[in-house]
């Protein structure tokens, strides 16, 4: 029996994907697990694997089209099967069951009406569905769809229509929600974007959050719900704005994850300047001996791993449970992420088990991951799950800075530039040293100040005397 093939979340944070390439043609049969197409996610280009063996009856999302998670990208089934009804439904109700319900309530005629023209044009459903916000400024929350239904029967209902003349809310943004719902969501770690609002205009209200918390369907990181059609770009940009770029993909993920981290994890920062002279000398000597250059970051990752193994309290992460309680997860293995700037945004490849690996192995691991990231093929498991992150802006001449913790870790080390600096020696005379300023950002829910300071002292000692790592 024919069915719609829906866009899946191909990374933990993916909310929409762009069809990069179809590997199977219409009419072609495929096996379970076969790559049907390639999808550009927020982080990388991923293969979309067939969930079952079938025939690709119809491609709905053409190359270049965007599809939100849950939106149909194709119809599959048995060869020769009639799938026109499916196409109609998916076009009329591509925003999912919520919206289909609303649309059919408002305009019974619209539900089953195929919109073959739209599909035949090859434009993806999500784009064709980008109807203006129903009713515009006149829309009363009670009947957001009915105003537009007669003239635009194919327009899907928008779960969060712009009511009362407000600027349309981009689907990726927070839906309208009551203050109480927001407070409850914070308490229960419910991701409001994943909650269907039952209030007027799709407002998420308390009962929606409590229901989501009970069912566990909207935890942070859970797959997004059936999507809303994007609002039109009706929001007038001011005359001083030269260009407006939609925030999506990787940018949106960075924005969301780091906002979550910054606004939920209480950060504190510890700063310490270390003498990096011995480490630089040792690195130079090893580089010369081996004939290959190992990055300073690999050394810092290794030394951090040693220090973390001696201060396991930091090798941990805060975890919010659906019921509102929380746990701190402690880990034996030390995985260290490295913040890497790419033209389209930040990635954080993770070198695993750095405590057991040598600097060369860590360096090689980072190098491989970075080249995959540049190619857009870094896998989710390769950039997530680190307990500790290093961010080094020294190459930009930055002396010191504070960084935002990379979840689920509980600490991040911000590394400044190594520089020559005068200092007062123990005997009171002035000397010159290779100074480097480290700023450790900690999640106070997991780590207290003294704990972080002890770790930083350990790390400083290791950097100043790398041989101590052997102890």
């Amino acid at each position: 029996m024919a069915e719609r093939l829906l866009m899946m979340a191909l990374s933990p944070t993916m909310e929409e994907g762009v069809l990069a390439r179809w590997r199977v043609a219409e009419g072609e049969a495929f096996k379970a697990g076969q790559a049907l197409c390639e999808v550009e996610t927020d982080k990388a280009t991923m293969d979309y694997e067939a969930p079952k063996a079938a025939v690709l009856l119809k491609i709905v999302a053409a190359v270049g089209a965007k599809a939100r998670v849950g939106e149909p990208i194709a119809v599959i089934g048995a060869a020769g099967e009639d799938y026109s009804a499916l196409l109609g439904k998916e076009t009329g109700g591509s925003a999912g069951e919520n919206a289909a319900h609303a649309a059919s309530t408002a305009s019974p005629a619209s539900g089953a009406r195929p919109s073959s023209g739209t599909v035949a044009s090859g434009r993806p459903a999500a784009v064709s569905a980008a109807a203006p916000p129903p009713g515009g400024a006149d829309a009363r929350p009670a009947a957001p769809v009915s105003a537009s239904a007669p003239t635009a029967p194919v327009a899907p209902a928008v779960p969060y229509p712009a009511a009362g003349g407000h600027v349309p809310v981009a689907p990726a943004a927070l839906p309208p929600s009551s203050p109480l719902a927001r407070a409850r969501a914070l308490k229960h770690a419910v991701d409001l974007r994943l909650v269907r609002g039952s209030g007027p205009g799709g407002r998420v209200v308390e009962r929606d959050v409590l229901e989501a918390a009970r069912s566990g369907t909207a935890r942070f990181g859970a797959p997004p719900p059936l999507p809303a059609a994007p609002g039109s770009a009706a929001a007038g940009s001011g005359p001083l704005v030269d260009e407006e770029r939609a925030v999506a993909g990787k940018r949106a993920v960075i924005a969301r994850r780091l906002s979550e981290s910054f606004f939920t994890a209480p950060h504190f920062y510890l700063k310490r300047t270390v003498d990096v002279g011995r480490l630089l000398a040792a690195r130079a000597a090893l580089n010369a001996a081996r004939g290959e250059k190992l990055s300073l970051n690999a050394y810092l990752a290794k030394l951090s791993a040693v220090a973390l193994s001696r201060h396991p309290a930091l090798n941990a992460g805060w975890k919010q449970k659906p019921d509102g309680s929380a746990v701190v997860e402690y880990r034996a293995r030390v995985d260290v992420a490295l913040a890497v700037a790419l033209p389209d945004g930040l990635v954080t490849p993770v070198a695993r088990d750095c405590g057991r690996k040598g600097v060369a192995a860590i360096d090689a691991e980072y190098a491989a991951l970075i080249s995959k990231a540049r190619a857009g093929s870094l896998l989710p498991e390769e950039y997530s799950g680190a307990t500790f992150t290093i961010s080094n802006l020294g190459s930009f001449g930055v002396e010191e800075f504070t960084a935002i913790i990379n979840p689920p870790g509980s600490a991040i080390l911000a590394v400044g530039a190594a520089r020559k600096e005068p200092f007062v020696k123990d005997d009171g005379t002035l000397g010159v040293r290779d100074a480097m300023t480290l700023t450790l950002g900690c999640d106070h829910r997991v780590v207290d100040g003294a704990v972080g300071a002890a770790f930083l002292a350990e790390l400083a000692a290791l950097i100043e005397e790398p041989l101590a790592a052997l102890l």
Binding site: S178, P179, L180, A181, P200, V205, E206, R207
Partner: protein, 327 residues
């Protein structure tokens, strides 16, 4: 405990205070020989004489201002306005004189005066005789404004008003004069500035004052029949407002319906809604609803007149909106 009318409760309060304090006198149109236009002062002339229960010519500005001077000179006038509609003629004396004298003199004078009379619409009286003017008085620093809705509160608040050292405006209601309620037989004072939880509940807060308390309680009953537990907070005093009580109920239920029979713009109700939104923001699950008088001069026709006022149905509908329930 006796069951008496609101009118009798006011009369008892006046009687007791005239008896207790020789500096208290009652002045107004028809208060003495006619026994009061609404019979609130019934029998008081006979008991206290024309020196202390004083009929005036129809001269609201004159006798209101006279009361202010008498208060500055140490008496405790109770000025009866036949209705608050006519008090508009005396606005200057209340706002510019009574309310400000203490501040303008750097605290040299007290103005212990009570202005009282029926406020708000009654029936078939049309635009000039049916208006709820609480906001006019509540707006003014230096005044205190009370709005009793039950016989017990009418008694206790009027006595407190007469004993207060500041000017107090008492908002009575013509329709309420014949309402009955239990009033304790022993003497008591109802504190100015304290709201009263007339009905506890958990799902939605109905906050009101004065005459609409009756329909607010009826609406709560109607809501209870459909399984909604409505809390009814009677503000009793609209200046100073019991902000703590507003905060408490708004935070408790997270849903607020304010009922004020005044016009909606710049009203006590709209200010209460502001306080609820400000002080309970993170606990609100719905926008604060305001059920007000309609924004029109009161029509004479009874159907239109009723449509222009808050009603049980309007309050229930507002509660439904606040609860995201289908009406």
């Amino acid at each position: 405990m006796s069951v008496i009318t609101y009118r009798e409760a006011l009369n008892r309060a006046l009687d007791e205070e005239l008896e207790r304090d020789g500096s208290v006198f009652l002045m107004g149109e028809e208060v003495a020989e006619y026994d009061g236009a609404y019979k609130v002062s019934k029998g008081l002339l006979a008991k206290y004489g024309a020196r202390r229960v004083v009929d005036t010519p129809i001269t609201e500005l004159g006798f209101t201002g006279l009361g202010v001077g008498a208060a500055m000179a140490g008496l405790r006038p109770v000025i009866e306005w036949m209705t608050h509609n006519f008090a508009l003629l005396a606005l200057d004396q209340v706002i510019n004189e009574a309310a400000k004298m203490r501040s303008m003199s750097g605290g040299q004078f007290k103005v212990p005066i009570v202005f009282r009379g029926p406020n708000g619409p009654a029936e078939y009286l049309a635009a000039q005789h049916s208006q709820a003017l609480a906001s006019y008085w509540a707006h003014v620093p230096g005044l205190k404004v009370v709005a009793p809705a039950t016989p017990a509160d009418a008694y206790g608040l009027l006595k407190s008003a007469i004993r207060d050292d500041d000017p107090v405006v008492v908002l009575e209601a013509e329709m309420a004069y014949s309402w009955k309620g239990e009033v304790p037989d022993e003497e008591y004072l109802t504190p100015i500035g304290k709201a009263d939880l007339k009905r506890p509940g958990s799902d939605v807060s109905i906050i009101t004052f004065g005459k609409p308390l009756k329909i607010a309680l009826e609406a709560a009953e109607a809501l209870a029949a459909e399984g909604v537990s409505a809390e009814v907070l009677d503000l009793r005093t609209v200046r100073p407002l019991d902000e703590a009580a507003i905060r408490e109920t708004a935070r408790k239920t997270g849903r607020v319906v304010v009922v004020d029979e005044s016009w909606p713009v710049a009203s006590v109700g709209s200010h209460v809604a502001h306080l609820a939104a400000r002080d309970a923001f993170d606990r609100l699950d719905a926008p604060v609803e305001l059920v007000s008088g309609e924004d029109v001069p009161m029509p004479y026709n009874h159907g239109l007149e009723l449509a222009a006022q808050p009603s049980v149905a309007k309050i229930v509908a507002a509660a439904h909106r606040a609860l995201y329930k289908e009406s």
